[in-house]
Amino acid sequence: MARYEIFVTYKQGIFDPPGATAERALASLGYDEVESVKIGKYIRLEVADGPNELARVAEMCDKLLANPVIEEYRIVETEGAAR
């Protein structure tokens, strides 16, 4: 079994309302050093071993877990889950 961590974020140039709000909130708390905040999603998959595993995870992202019109994703394979 393999474990995949998926980070979904807005594409460059897409306005990120939660990120923009957090950015303003941090500035109002005095954290002037913050130049940008982007907020995204974290998804963790545990996948049974099989052929084309990574390609299939990417397909899952394209189909359902992310919307390619506005989002991009990064897949990180981590240690296999202990069983």
């Binding site: 807005y10 897409i14 306005f15 990120d16 309302p17 939660p18 923009a20 709000t21 359902l64 877990l65 919307n67 019109v69 506005i70």
Partner: protein
């Protein structure tokens, strides 16, 4: 002419559509999201609500409901499809309409009646003169429509932008008139052929003058007249 109103788990405006249709003398029935037969329906409506709890993204899961494959084929045959609010979100997720929805600018769930301006458009769902201003309620958290600049330009050039948010007098504020931050003040768009129409506002809620008003009526009666060849 019979409308089919799809019920997804979490839809909550399907009854409003049915009540509006009946008030306007349009035959209407519900379609279960697990059904795959749309024969007998002349138009399909995807109603508002929170299909599948809005999980992952609004409309992202509903798009894969068994009925949606048939809705795609129905639209490909030229059948008229209307998506209201969550229905519009589902249509973009299904790539039946371009663009996508972001959370409202300011992160507020917005529930208010707003002015909309009818644009020059190719959509048979809205047969109103260009520049007509109607007042229709919006009720959403993710109505901040976005698309890349090329898509926005194409929508505009093709007459696919059907209704825009505007000021009460029909003008558009220099900083934008969309309460949710939608690109180009877009409230509703149609497909290249015009038969698929999605909008965030709820015209079904302003069809009965005793309850609210009549500004939403043309959003249902136009297509009936169009299909009848009137």
């Amino acid at each position: 002419m019979t409308f089919g109103v799809v019920r997804f788990p979490g839809s909550n405006c399907e009854q409003d559509i049915v009540i509006a249709c009946r008030y306007l003398g349009i035959d209407v029935d519900y379609v279960w999201h697990g059904d795959t037969d749309l024969s007998g329906f002349d138009a399909v409506v995807l109603p508002g609500g929170f299909s599948y709890g809005d999980y992952i993204r609004t409309g992202a899961v509903a798009r894969f409901s068994p009925v949606m494959g048939e809705v795609v084929r129905f639209a490909e045959r030229g059948g008229p499809v209307l998506g209201v609010c969550n229905g519009f979100q589902i249509l973009t997720e299904a790539h039946m309409l371009p663009g996508a929805m972001l959370r409202n600018r300011g992160l507020k769930f917005i529930c208010e009646t707003v002015p909309l301006r009818v644009e020059h458009n190719i959509c048979p769902w809205v047969d109103l003169p260009e520049g007509t201003v109607v007042r229709i309620p919006i009720n959403h958290n993710e109505g901040n429509f976005t698309a890349d600049p090329e898509t926005l330009a194409r929508l505009d050039a093709n007459g696919q932008i059907v209704v825009r948010y505007c000021e009460p007098d029909g003008t558009r504020a220099p900083g934008g008139s969309a309460p949710n931050g939608a690109a180009d003040d877009i409230a509703g768009i149609c497909s290249e052929r015009g038969n698929v129409f999605g909008l965030m506002p709820h015209p079904e809620r302003v069809c009965d003058p005793e309850a609210s008003g009549t500004d939403g009526q043309p959003f249902f009666t136009s297509i009936v007249a169009h299909m009848a060849g009137v």
